[in-house]
Amino acid sequence: MIASVGRTGAWPQAGRISALVLLAALARAAIEPMGEGMATAAFATVLLAGMVLTRPTSPLMGEGWSGGAAYSRWNTGRSLLGGLVVAALIVAPGLPALAGAGAGHASRGLDGWWAWAAVTALVATLEEVAIRGALQGALTRGAGTLPAIAAGAAVFALIHLPRYGLGGLPLDFAVGVALGGLRAVSGRVLPCAVAHTAADWAAWWMA
């Protein structure tokens, strides 16, 4: 499938994927005044629609949400472990400063954790499928690995702009570069989805 998409079709494909992801982020920002639940639902719906179109036969995204698992040397166990290690490395540097600031993170119990965690995992996974799977996959074929990682990180940072503002841009870009590197190292989306989800989950205790 990767070969069949070809180098020449990679750029339009990357453009369509970027447009889809940015459209999802804009939909979320536009609906946000109606509530976070509605906004997240809109974001997930647009990305989910994109994911349905990422079947391996889809002309829109070609390689699809399997994220190149068939071509990777990383099996599922290694992907899970790798994702968790990267998540720990993303989260760990912030721990001492947060503890020093006396954040009330220990006070949050597990009430509501499962629903929150499920939605967070869903959104994180959808983003990884779209950005690290489809977008980075297409750009790697069109422009090479490093430009693809940088472009994926830029889109990743941009879609979080409405939510976290300019202040969140550097951190989101840096994490995007790390996740893009993980995607390229592993050849799979799964470790990126695990890392992203686990880092998000850590906020339950850290925020």
Partner: protein, 250 residues
């Protein structure tokens, strides 16, 4: 050489991204939430909780801060109630409070009025607690005067809400109210008077449209999670069937 760079590029990107993230995290300790729903806040602390929340309700907290007086000018600052998700936050600018000569500080206090709150405004219901906001000068305890508008942010409990109102001891006065973006349960207003404040809603309850929107906001996302799981399962089954067929024919 080029091949070496190409091979090591992803590893370098991974390490560089992690190093940059660590650097930013150390400089600004923000929690690494990139997505999902905002973190759930602690439940609203009621003076008089609804019957289904009585067992879990925590009494609302008060807030207090002393603003020093320097060269006759009261310093500005903020005061908030002492909860993990503060229910009232005041922002008072420099010189917005006036005190008598000789005062060394102004004490601003936010108290939940749990005993004998004022009766609700006509045609409206009070949503959540009534809070008394006051400022006195120290020493002496005489009331400090508000010379310019200060800003108040108040948490609103789940359910209907229309605007904030101020009770001046004789009557309620509607305040021009703004809502926090992102569906956050906070309302804000700028006011030039201390007094008792409350979130209010029109009597008669929530409109059917807002009930539906609230329901969609709560359960629509969960429905998506279920849908996502079903789609992922179907995709996986189809992938395995295709692989099986390819193995048999190949």
């Amino acid at each position: 050489m080029v091949d070496g760079v190409r091979r090591r590029g992803p590893l370098v990107a991974l390490a560089l991204g992690l190093a940059l993230a660590a650097l930013i995290h150390t400089a600004s300790p923000s929690p690494p939430l990139f997505d999902g729903l905002p973190l759930p806040q602690a439940p609203y602390a009621y003076c008089s909780p609804p019957s289904n929340l009585e067992s879990s309700n925590v009494r609302p907290a008060r807030g207090q801060a002393d603003f020093p007086v320097q060269n006759g000018v009261v310093a500005g600052g903020s005061v908030q109630t002492d909860e993990s998700a503060p229910q009232v936050i005041l922002f008072i600018g420099v010189d917005e409070l006036k005190v008598s000569p000789g005062a060394v500080s102004a004490r601003v206090t936010i108290d939940p009025v749990c005993a004998d709150p004022p009766p609700p405004p006509g045609g409206a219901q009070i949503r959540g607690n009534v809070y008394r906001v006051s400022a006195v000068e120290e020493p002496g305890g005489r009331p400090a005067r508000v010379s310019a508008a200060y800003h108040l942010t108040m948490r609103v409990p789940p359910g209907p809400f229309s605007h904030l109102q101020l009770y001046d001891g004789t009557a309620w006065h509607p305040l021009s109210t703004s809502l926090a973006p992102g569906g956050n349960p906070y309302a804000g207003s700028t006011l030039a008077q201390m007094g008792e404040l409350a979130a209010t809603a029109t009597s008669g309850g929530e409109s059917p449209v807002s009930v539906v929107l609230r329901w969609l906001g709560s359960f629509g996302v969960l429905a998506l999670v279920v849908l996502f799981g079903i789609i992922a399962l179907v995709q996986e089954i189809r992938r395995r069937r295709t692989q099986g067929r390819e193995r048999r024919t190949g």
